[in-house]
């Protein structure tokens, strides 16, 4: 294992210190329990938007704390959901009297820990709602399984709901909006290489030199199928087809296209892939009106990418365009 770390068990807290040092104008961090909070929170009368999840997916979630996005983020151990007391402490630090919206990626651990947290927070008399995102089309959805995973769409959800909370939408409106985003967003990813969790010290799975894993999860969970590595055209075609045909996105739909790197894929490849995705969507008559390209929901050093599509309407577009000022996403402010 080759990593710039001191000790697997202190990676998260040390990274939080670096985050705080780098972005003291935007956020502050609390170490035990661990959370990242907007520097100017609590904001009276504003719905507090809080998320979190295992570490190793940076900039998700701590990199999205700030104006117009998250009020707080709770980082768990690497690839391990945070504990309820982290969420409870984060909410205590940022809630401004207008209620709390928890945005949770659909993994058993995340759901259970946030559920427990919500019970504890609710017991304190705070109005708390939870919206679970499950945008990964790779997983068969069924009541007999853990359901679809939350992946790339999470960034779009956090941005849009964060903008709504910032402009003063109340808790019910923020919750309804979040459900609307979840209903209209779909993702599919591919891995070319595995990643290495610090405490394990070796890759969580292996892919042969000529293989890729379509439908990879962001913790290196396997996906739909292992297939021979293809040229970019073929890879992106599979991702776009999987996403478009799931919702489905139809000709004339206005969308946001998010081309995400899993971390280890260089930007030159990612832009190349983005160009292909734009072309394929144009061929299908899907109208790309907004885009995001970069490593925003990663799996440590994993090489790979994902494609996320979100159906846009005027309101979602306006909220996407609204000012945001966080370590990883910043415009208009």
């Amino acid at each position: 294992m080759k990593k710039i770390i001191n000790d697997p068990s202190t990676v998260v807290v040390e990274a939080m210190r670096g985050l705080a040092a780098a972005h003291g104008d935007l956020l502050r961090v609390h170490e035990d329990p661990a959370y990242v909070a907007r520097v100017d929170a609590p904001r009276r009368g504003k719905v507090a938007v809080v998320s979190g999840g295992g570490s190793g997916h940076e900039p998700l979630h701590g990199g999205f704390v700030g104006l117009g996005m998250l009020d707080a983020a709770c980082p768990g151990a690497v690839f391990t959901s945070p504990t309820p007391d982290q969420v409870q402490a984060a909410v205590a630090a940022v809630h401004g009297g207008a209620g709390v919206l928890l945005l949770v990626k659909n993994y058993t651990g995340d759901v259970l820990n946030f559920e427990t947290a919500a019970e504890l927070i609710g017991a304190e008399g705070i109005d708390v709602r939870t919206v679970v995102i499950d945008d990964d089309v790779a997983v068969k959805d069924s009541t007999y399984t853990a359901g679809r995973r939350g992946v790339g769409g999470t960034v779009l959800l956090e941005k849009i709901v964060g903008a709504a909370a910032e402009r003063g939408d109340d808790l019910a409106a923020c919750e309804a909006l979040a459900r609307r985003v979840v209903a209209g967003v779909r993702s599919l990813g591919v891995a070319l290489t595995a990643c290495t969790v610090p405490h394990l010290g070796e890759p969580t799975f292996t892919l042969a030199e000529d293989e890729m894993e379509i439908g990879i999860g962001i913790h290196g969970e396997p996906g739909r199928a292992r297939a021979p590595l293809e040229p970019a055209d073929g890879i992106v075609r599979r991702l776009v087809a999987g996403v478009v045909e799931d919702l489905p996105f139809a000709e004339g739909d206005r969308v946001l296209l998010f081309t995400n790197s899993m971390g280890g894929t260089p930007l030159v490849e990612l832009y190349l892939a983005h160009g292909i995705a734009e072309r394929l969507l144009a061929e299908r008559g899907v109208r790309v009106e907004r885009r995001l390209v970069g490593p925003y929901v990663t799996s440590l050093e994993m090489q790979g990418m994902s494609v996320t599509l979100l159906r846009l309407d005027d309101e979602l577009t306006e909220l996407w365009d609204a000012p945001v000022r966080t370590p990883a996403l910043r415009w208009g402010a």
């Binding site: 959901s81 058993t108 259970l112 068969k140 399984t145 913790h219 290196g220």
Partner: protein, 213 residues
């Protein structure tokens, strides 16, 4: 521990559980690596080291109080799917023991039943879904049978541990329907479920500690 079990006995046993979890951490992580995200050993290790530290600080005078401290400690340190599930299991077990100062075989069996109830309430898994329920459910059943037959704490825990071990083994051919392993579909078959294995480990460590007294 003897035929019954005091708070003090339980603390001793929990230290043994903690040691067992630490010892088997790599094994659990390896199992989780095959069908999950390779953190179960690390999660359990972190949680049960915190448990060992917690029960070392005095103050819990009833078995229920000890179990409650274990549950809250696990919930606040483990994370992942296993944190709330193990935590709830210990909290429910605590509740079922009320405030008696010594528990017997029947109470242990009832606590295991309550623990199972908590895990199922939170995780909604059934036997056969390839989760810790596949170890805990037969353990609760075996404990009940042993307690009905007049078994004392060591006997009840021994029966539970053995059933849990068999239950854990039984997960090998199963296709996971809950938790992270379910993403694998058919590919999850052929591997032990890490949470079922850790459940068996915990119960075996408790049984051994009880039998050693």
């Amino acid at each position: 521990m003897s035929v019954t079990c005091t708070a003090e006995d339980l603390v001793v046993a929990l230290r043994a559980v903690s040691a067992a979890v630490v010892d088997h951490g790599d094994e659990l992580t390896e199992l989780d690596r095959a069908i999950g995200d390779a953190d179960h050993g690390e999660n359990m290790r972190r949680g049960f080291l915190a448990v060992a530290a917690k029960v070392d600080s005095p103050g819990q005078t009833t078995p229920a109080a000890v179990l409650k401290a274990v549950g809250t400690t696990l919930i606040s340190t483990v994370g992942g799917a296993s944190g709330p599930l193990y935590g709830t299991a210990f909290l429910r077990a605590a509740t079922s023991l009320a405030d008696v100062s010594e528990v017997d075989g029947v109470a242990v069996a009832a606590a295991l039943r309550a623990a199972l109830g908590g895990v199922v309430a939170r995780g909604r898994a059934e036997v056969g879904d390839k989760t810790m329920v596949d170890a805990l459910a037969p353990a609760a059943d075996a404990a009940a049978t042993a307690a009905e037959g007049g078994g004392d704490v060591p006997a009840v825990l021994a029966a539970a541990a053995e059933a849990a071990e068999r239950g854990a083994e039984s997960t090998k051919p199963l296709v996971a329907r809950k938790g992270r392993a379910s993403y694998l579909g058919e590919r999850s078959a052929g591997h032990l479920d890490p949470g079922a294995r850790s459940t068996a480990l915990v119960l075996r460590a408790l049984a051994t500690a009880a039998g050693a007294r």
